[in-house]
């Protein structure tokens, strides 16, 4: 019964924390409402007629189509500078050195030879720069919000209006090939589709080769109106090797050949779009909002002339979602309902017609349609929710009605000056940009009230844990009364809250309900704590850690409120840790615990309490401290930069081993990594042997003896495969691929089984009786249920002793006649620590597999640090069990 109440109490504490976290995140990660409305061909977004009366023509909605077909080549992670034309270098100059620069030659050639047919843009993606969010944005024209970022691996069909849906409803045939993320996003929307698995980021070629197999035959067959090819090789190459690797050059050259082949096959009515969905950082990652991640390339080409003016010196910067309304209007489709992108007006100018007036008129009409659609969306959206700022909304609506009126007036008098048309265009563009800015601001706005409430709830739960951990020490403490009232109050609070919400007609929010329940159950608890607070107990007694440690923790906490210190966290934290260590050593010395007492017994000195002979001398403690500082400093070599710190360079040692160029360096590094693993294993085994834990026949000890080396072996083999997979002969490819899936799973499985064994039998104490029973017997875990007395709580050791007493009492009586009986118990000194060390080592292995190979050196350093720190702490404690007794720093 007691056990159940303890479990229930723990469950309640868990619930409190979860409620706090849920409340906080609901304020922090705001979602955007997804509207399911659709634009349709028959229904124009606003009043007004088309200048050339295109309605009624077949294959034209809203506007006459300019292209009947589009080839969309989506090269994942095609950063802008990958496609940027390189200034041609003379014979004397050295060629470009970076492997990703200037590899897309065909783009450069086309831009030079046919400046009126092609154009390169720098498109700016909106964060989060993950592929699924970018795909959503590229088809719906909206801004996926933060909350979508988490669902990247379980993507669901897009419910909002999008380009693919519009194409399908207009009866166009969409053929897709490439990344299978599209299958989940647009189920059943393609007339023909070739999906390839995208999940394995180490696989550079499956998707691309699959596309290439089908791309040209499909294109030549002509049975398509929109052809989408989503190449993943560049992105995966970035993840595996980073952009600064010869492999990236190969991949980009392959993409160059693809573009070349497509350009040759294009017909006159076809538009070619080459676009990167996002960029990549210098290490090849993406997802954030750094400049390198959001800048992607966008290249447009058409066999007929499309761009009137001379090409600009520097490529223009356009928002990525501009492509959506542009493509829709170019293909003669309605713009998707939720689009907030701005049409690229330049593409709508008339090339054949030399009159500037008609060109401007065409641009204005495209922009006007776009603005009407956005305005309609704003109306619908602001009617559905109240996210958008009312003031800004009014300003934008006024801007739009003015621009719209101007435009209508110009249509009435066709001889209007070109200057007036330009004004209208500018006004419409202002409106569209204003809307976009407002949406970005609104959909990334935090709810401070919820965040504060969640933080307060979590702080209260922490306080509760602190209080209860103090109370639970007193013997005979019972959890049941502590549980009943809060539970009742929590339930009552929930019911009252739910009733209030339903009567006032508001929506029932489970997060708010959970938070109300948590608050309701916390209040009586806090009231009880307040009432039972004796004046004699000072508040300081509550603080569980010694003063200096607390001071440094406070400084560390305060540092989070300073932007500069957050940026310099990698330097500030080791500094504080180092200060703490030296302070510990100094404090030990100050207390006189480090010096042998004979040194201090100089005459003329008075020592009020020279407490026993100190066990360790000063040089030992100083050595430990300096060793710790050294470890901390060395760990700083493996520094990974946080996001948004421009002047920061991550350590090159953090990239995976596969990206190391040069066989010798790779082998050396591999040796170092495996060496670190072996050293880690050897350290743990040595430690356990020193406290003679290895002799026990317990299953968990057996696991340490045999299972851990197996895990090391598996990890090392996996690293070897992962770093050298591409050098394997083709015959063995399948074997290597299989092994690199099986090995990590095997290691993780071993770790899990080891942990289960450890949980089942955590105590590794063995007891030997020399006579009578020669076979060593192990003691079962004696800690059953909550403790009954103070002594039980302080030490497990007395319990084991009592257990042994009872165990042998019977036998003693039986064997009294046979002479004295010697009883020996081993490993009492490391009752807690052996289990702790084993568990931590087991946990380290799955974590190692998640990181790049060279992180194993850091793990070794971490373990060394914790050993050293605990020895240092142990040096200052007069009576202590040697070795580990608290968790890692």
């Amino acid at each position: 019964m007691q056990k159940i109440s303890v479990l229930l109490f723990l469950a309640w504490v868990c619930f409190l924390f979860y409620a706090g976290i849920a409340l906080f995140t609901s304020g922090f990660l705001l979602t955007r409402l997804e509207l399911t409305n659709h634009s349709s061909c028959q229904e124009l977004p606003g009043p007004g007629s088309q200048p050339w009366g295109s309605q009624g023509k077949p294959g034209a909605c809203w506007m006459a189509s300019r292209f009947s077909r589009v080839v969309l080549v989506l090269i994942d992670a095609l950063r802008f500078d990958f496609a940027q034309p390189q200034p041609s270098h003379g014979p004397g100059e050295p060629p470009v050195s970076l492997p990703f620069l200037g590899k897309l030659d065909s783009l450069q050639r086309i831009l030079e030879i046919q400046p009126h047919h092609a154009k390169l843009y720098q498109s700016k993606a909106d964060p989060p720069t993950t592929t699924m969010q970018r795909l959503k944005a590229l088809t719906t024209g909206s801004l996926p919000t933060f909350i979508d970022a988490g669902s990247n691996f379980a993507s669901h069909a897009i419910v909002e209006d999008n380009l693919i849906k519009q194409l399908a409803s207009a009866g166009r045939r969409v053929v897709f090939m490439g990344d299978d993320t599209w299958k989940d996003l647009f189920p059943g929307a393609f007339s023909q589709a070739f999906f390839f698995p995208s999940f394995n980021v180490r696989d550079l070629h499956t998707v691309d080769n699959g596309i290439l197999e089908h791309l040209y035959p499909t294109m030549d067959s002509g049975e398509w109106d929109m052809l989408i090819a989503h190449f993943l090789g560049v992105d995966h190459c970035g993840h595996k090797y980073g952009p600064h690797h010869p492999e990236m050059a190969k991949k980009l050259s392959q993409m160059d050949q693809v573009i070349q082949g497509l350009v040759e096959r294009l017909e006159n009515d076809t538009l070619l779009v080459v676009i990167g969905d996002h960029g990549m950082t210098v290490t090849g990652d993406h997802g954030g909002d750094s400049e390198l991640e959001i800048s992607a390339a966008l290249f447009l080409y058409s066999p007929k002339a499309l761009f009137p003016g001379a090409p600009p010196e520097e490529p223009e910067v356009v928002p990525q979602i501009s492509l959506v309304p542009t493509l829709a209007l170019l293909l003669g489709l309605p713009i998707p309902f939720g689009n907030i992108g701005e049409v690229m007006a330049e593409l709508f100018s008339e090339i054949e017609d030399s009159q500037p007036h008609s060109s401007a008129l065409a641009q204005a009409s495209a922009l006007h349609l776009n603005a009407q659609q956005v305005s309609r969306f704003l109306h619908t959206y602001s009617a559905a929710t109240q996210d958008l700022q009312v003031k800004e909304l009014h300003r934008l609506q006024n801007l739009f009605s003015k621009a719209s009126a101007d435009y209508q007036r110009l249509l009435q008098s066709p001889q209007g000056a070109e200057a007036a048309l330009q004004t209208v265009i500018t006004e419409l563009q202002q409106f569209l940009r204003g809307v976009r800015a407002m949406c970005i601001q609104s959909w990334a706005r935090f709810s401070l009230g919820r965040m504060a409430g969640g933080a307060a709830l979590m702080a209260a739960a922490c306080f509760l844990c602190l209080l209860v951990s103090q109370w639970a020490i007193s013997p005979g403490f019972c959890f049941r009364p502590l549980l009943l009232t809060p539970m009742a109050c929590g339930l009552a609070g929930t019911i009252v809250c739910a009733g209030l919400l339903t009567t006032t007609g508001l929506k029932l929010d489970p997060v708010v309900l959970g938070a109300m329940a948590a608050v309701g159950s916390l209040l009586p608890f806090l009231w009880k704590a307040w009432a039972g607070w004796g004046s004699k107990r000072p508040l300081v007694a509550l603080l569980p850690i010694p003063g200096p440690v607390l001071l440094f923790l406070l400084i560390r906490f305060a540092a989070f409120f300073s932007d500069s210190f957050v940026v310099a966290e990698a330097r500030a934290t080791p500094f504080l840790l180092g200060s703490l260590i030296l302070l510990l050593v100094a404090q030990l010395h100050w207390e006189g615990k480090l010096l042998p007492s004979k040194l201090l017994t100089i005459p003329r000195l008075c020592f009020s309490a020279s407490a026993g002979p100190p066990r360790r001398n000063g040089t030992h403690a100083l050595g430990l401290g300096v060793g710790l500082l050294l470890c901390i400093r060395l760990a700083g070599l493996f520094h990974r930069c946080p996001e948004e710190t421009p002047a920061c360079h991550s350590s090159p040692w953090l990239s995976p081993l596969a990206s190391v160029v040069g066989g010798r360096a790779k082998n050396l590094w591999y040796g170092a990594c495996v060496g670190a693993l072996v050293a880690l294993l050897a350290a743990v085994r040595l430690w356990l042997r020193r406290y003679s834990n290895l002799k026990s026949p317990e299953p968990s000890v057996l696991f340490v003896r045999w299972g851990l080396p197996l895990m090391v072996l598996g990890t090392a083999a996996y690293w070897a495969l992962a770093s050298g997979a591409d050098e394997a002969p083709p015959r063995l490819r399948a074997l290597v691929a299989g092994a690199s899936v099986v090995l990590p799973r095997a290691v993780a499985g071993l770790a899990a089984s080891g942990l289960v064994l450890l949980l089942w039998r955590p105590v590794t104490v063995i007891v030997k009786a020399t006579t009578g029973a020669p076979r060593p017997r192990t003691v079962l875990t004696p800690f059953a249920g909550p403790p009954t007395s103070r002594a039980d709580l302080d030490y497990v050791v007395p319990q084991i002793y009592r257990h042994m007493q009872e165990e042998f009492r019977g036998r003693l009586e039986r064997t009294k006649s046979q002479g004295p009986l010697t009883v020996a118990a081993y490993q009492l000194g490391s009752v807690y620590s052996a289990a702790m060390v084993t568990a931590l080592t087991l946990l380290a292995f799955p974590l190692l597999l998640l990181h790049a190979e060279r992180i194993s050196l850091v793990f070794l350093l971490l373990f060394l640090q914790s050993f050293l720190l605990l020895h240092l702490l142990a040096a200052g404690i007069p009576i202590t069990t040697p070795g580990k007794y608290i968790s890692q720093p």
Binding site: S564, R571, A572, L582, H589, L599, L605, C606
Partner: protein
């Protein structure tokens, strides 16, 4: 413990502070473009020399500790050489500690080393003057109930406050105020100097206020 002792302590400390102030103003008469921030290394050297000189002179004049029984010339010379070696060792020790705390390993070596020199000047030199090259005595002074005179007590306070000043001096470095004194190691050396001066001011006052509680065995 007499008030005259405390008065002597106060005067010697005032002289030390005066020497630091002199090290700021005197060089500008001889050197062009001298300022603490721009020619920081020069100032570090000058300040270190001034403070060491004043400490030595004060030690010779005031003679706070009981004069040693042996006074042969060779003994004095070996003692002096030992002091020099101790001073150098402490400079290197501080340098290593700074690097372990996060100072750059290869760049700015000269700056870091001069910083170690000035910190040694503020901490090791007074120790050497007062206690001699005797590590055991040092360890005794810097432990609880280890001091035996007001001189040792003031030494304890000034040394600890120099260290604290140095430590606090590291905090402005990451801030984005873009001030010239935030560059490594200027803020730390300034912190050390301020800490030393604060220790010099505080220790006589603290001893004066606590003169009733302080009882030294030898006095």
């Amino acid at each position: 413990m007499k008030n005259t002792d405390i008065k002597r302590l106060l005067y010697t400390h005032l002289l030390c502070i005066f020497s630091i102030i002199l090290s700021i103003f005197i060089p500008s008469f001889f050197l062009e473009n001298f300022s603490i921030l721009e020619t920081h290394l020069t100032w570090l050297c000058i300040c270190s020399v001034f403070v060491t000189a004043v400490n030595l002179v004060l030690y010779l004049v005031v003679k706070p500790n009981a004069s040693s029984k042996r006074s042969s010339l060779s003994y004095k010379v070996t003692r002096f050489l030992k002091c020099c070696i101790y001073f150098l060792m402490s400079c290197f020790f501080f340098h290593v500690i700074f690097v372990l705390y996060g100072a750059p390993l290869i760049e700015l070596v000269l700056e870091t080393f001069l910083f170690a020199v000035i910190l040694s000047t503020f901490t090791t030199v007074p120790c050497l003057c007062l206690l001699g090259p005797n590590l055991k005595a040092w360890l005794r002074v810097f432990s609880r109930n280890g001091v035996t005179s007001i001189w040792e007590n003031s030494l304890q306070i000034t040394t600890i406050s120099s260290f604290i000043g140095t430590w606090l001096g590291a905090f402005p470095i990451p801030l984005d105020w873009e001030r010239p004194w935030q560059v490594w190691p200027i803020s730390c050396t300034l912190g050390a100097t301020f800490g030393y001066v604060a220790g010099l001011v505080i220790s006589p006052l603290w001893i004066y206020w606590n003169r009733k509680q302080l009882t030294y065995k030898n006095n």
